[in-house]
């Protein structure tokens, strides 16, 4: 339990650092931030927008830096991320609220699949050393070495464009002239969603599964050298159960390795969305960059950061649950 408390403490510090960083970014921009943003904006700025932006970016001299900071922190913690410049003054939180489910769906399902498949393959590869499964290792390394979105691009080209097996963009079919899909829990909509999920999801799975496979395989090999596995086999347990015993111990370091890679997976998935024009946070971010929509960008940054921290925390929780040793004080 003290371990968890320490971790929570750390996550709070990291979250605080992220908020502070976010606060300073627009103020660190070279030159007059406000004029730079204005010149990059398309369209007309209303006086209300101007005033709010001035307050937001520190061009407003009425407040001291410190009070601006506290205002900003206060706004962030209450979910007020400001108004999105490129979405006609829609609050950033609303914009993100629409995008978040798509991204979570993509990353969540891909990670679950990658985890299950990856650890299973890794266990098998580690157990049956030599032979066909060992060839998996270089193959998965192949996929791991390619940047996420290049992989997505290649998949898009091969399966989406050349073979036309899967649609090449969007979260669901918006171009069909015969059927209008209504969002909600109806089958036509869901099947379209699934169809569009395949390619981006596969990209994320392929790119991240290598980590699970290789990590699990190496840990299995090291674990199977331990005496307690030998004892289990000597006791006459079925092979399946012996593997289970070894796997349960081997999985622990793999999970803690996973926590390291969470931010990588999230970043990669975000890029994949851009490739596939998937209506999630990643795509939103891409558009925000092009439009220089700073409030939106800051909001995205914070949301993604918090998501990564929460995911890390969940993984830590899983680790504590699975490993009785970490619950006892050292």
């Amino acid at each position: 339990m003290p371990l968890l408390i320490r971790r929570i403490g750390f996550y709070l510090i990291a979250a605080y650092a992220a908020i502070t960083l976010d606060f300073f970014i627009p103020r660190m921009l070279p030159g007059n931030a406000l004029s730079a943003i204005l010149t990059q904006m398309r369209g007309v700025v209303t006086p209300a927008q101007l005033a709010s932006m001035a307050a937001e970016y520190g061009a407003d001299d009425k407040q001291s830096l410190l009070s601006q900071y506290f205002t900003y922190v206060g706004h962030t913690l209450s979910g007020n991320f400001g108004l999105s410049l490129s979405h006609q003054e829609t609050p950033v939180s609303t914009v993100l609220g629409g995008d978040l489910p798509w991204t979570i769906g993509l990353i969540g399902s891909a990670t679950v699949v990658a985890f299950l498949l990856g650890t299973l393959i890794g266990i098998m590869a580690g157990w049956r050393r030599g032979g066909l499964l060992d060839a998996i290792v270089p193959v998965s390394t192949f996929f791991q070495a390619i940047p996420y979105f290049v992989l997505g691009l290649l998949l898009l080209i091969i399966f989406g464009s050349d073979l036309a097996w899967f649609p090449i963009g969007g979260g669901y079919d918006t171009t069909n002239r015969y059927v209008t899909y209504v969002q909600g829990w109806n089958w036509p909509y869901m099947s379209s969603v699934l169809q569009h999920l395949v390619l981006p999801g596969t990209t994320v799975v392929l790119a991240s599964i290598a980590g699970w496979i290789v990590g699990m395989r190496n840990m299995m090999i090291t674990t199977m050298d331990e005496d307690y596995v030998l004892v289990a086999a000597a006791k006459g347990l079925s092979r399946f159960r012996v593997i289970g015993i070894a796997a349960r111990n081997a999985i622990l370091p793999t999970i803690s390795n996973f926590t390291l890679s969470i931010s990588l997976v999230v970043t990669g998935a975000v890029l994949v969305e851009v490739v596939f024009d998937y209506p999630g946070i990643g795509n939103e971010m891409f558009n925000a960059i092009t439009a220089a929509d700073y409030p939106l960008l800051q909001g995205i940054l914070l949301v993604v950061t918090f998501a990564v921290l929460i995911a890390n925390f969940l993984a830590d929780l899983a680790y504590v649950v699975l490993d009785p040793r970490s619950r006892r004080e050292a």
């Binding site: 390394t141 070495a145 290049v150 960008l297």
Partner: protein, 334 residues
């Protein structure tokens, strides 16, 4: 001298430890490493000599009227883009900035991770606590996103400065190596030879540099390659998203212009496929190298080669696969 036993002659020693220098051993490099090294070297050469080999400069255009990209032909090996620039030249020119920044990022990241990780591990105490928190923060925050927000408003002049961009990219990748190095330093710190060095009066700095670092080299090498791969991924992503647009072009910007011009839908493969493939190949080459180093560090995880079918796995024994006829040591009697 009161020793009653005869002076010991030179007899064979114990099996080689992985960190031992291959002084009089011919090391047999596995096929993975050779292939990986070959690919990497090939692209490094292209990066160095690319601009000279390119048949056309970046500004050259085939003609100024045609707005459609042309497929590969005798004069343009990889065709042209929608402004009639020669894509083969663009590919060669782009290699330099892509690879240069990747390696610069890798170098900076490795220096940072060694400094932070080893110091934190060896010194311990409050310094360790503080450095660990900093490292963990860098690990937890999504680096690429922060980079995007920071780099977007940079003036174009800075965007051409490889050192600046490389350093900024390194900031997002040093934390992984630092963690691994810290963990290993903690282990090495309690090794007997470190204790012995302290007993004879070696200073701390000397111990870290001369006793601990040499035994960390495999990890440092693996970390360097990892950060280069990662740096390339980050840099290509930045170019692809349009956050950074170097004047000399890079593979990432090629991809960006390709997708922005609808090349994918129009099936103009000669435009977007070559840069994507090149990026993938460099990544694979480096990854193979990295994997080879991993196996050298931990001989147990080597996958058996197909020739050795007689290595059967038995529970309780982990076969360490050594390539046959690889170790020749002069003068050793076993």
């Amino acid at each position: 001298m009161t020793s009653t036993l005869p002076t010991e002659t030179m007899t064979g020693g114990s099996p080689a430890t992985p960190a031992a220098p291959a002084r009089r051993r011919r090391r047999h490099y596995p096929i993975k490493v050779q292939v990986g090294a070959g690919i990497t070297l090939f692209f490094i050469l292209i990066a160095i000599f690319g601009p000279e080999l390119a048949p056309h400069s970046a500004a050259w255009v085939a003609n100024t009227t045609n707005g459609t990209p042309q497929p590969p032909s005798g004069s343009n090996w990889l065709g042209t883009d929608n402004t009639q620039h020669d894509l083969y030249s663009a590919l060669l020119l782009g290699a330099r900035s892509t690879l240069l920044i990747s390696f610069v990022a890798g170098a900076f990241a490795t220096v940072l991770s060694v400094a932070m990780g080893v110091t934190s591990g060896y010194v311990g105490g409050v310094t360790d606590e503080v450095m660990s928190i900093i490292t963990n923060i860098f690990l937890a925050l999504p680096g690429l996103l922060i980079l995007m927000v920071i780099l977007k408003p940079l003036p174009p002049g800075d965007q051409n400065n490889s050192l600046v961009i490389g350093f900024v990219v390194a900031l997002s990748s040093w934390a992984y190596g630092a963690r691994a190095l810290r963990a290993q330093t903690l282990t090495l710190r309690d090794q007997d030879y470190v204790v012995s060095a302290r007993v004879i009066g070696e200073r701390k700095r000397r111990i870290v540099i001369y006793e601990i670092l040499p035994n960390l080299l495999p990890i440092v090498a693996a970390s360097f390659i990892f950060t280069v791969i990662y740096g390339m991924g980050v840099y290509v992503a930045l170019c692809y998203l349009g956050v950074v647009s170097p004047a000399s072009g890079s593979w990432g910007t090629l991809l960006q212009t390709a997708q922005a011009s609808g090349a994918i839908e129009a099936n103009q493969w000669w435009w977007y496929l070559p840069p994507a493939l090149c990026i993938a190949l460099v990544g694979i080459g480096l990854a193979l190298l990295n994997f080879g180093i991993d196996e050298i560090i931990n001989p147990r995880i080597r996958s058996s080669r197909s020739k050795r079918r007689d290595v059967k796995f038995q529970l309780g024994l982990t076969p360490v696969v050594r390539p046959a006829t690889s170790t020749v040591v002069e003068g050793e009697q076993l």
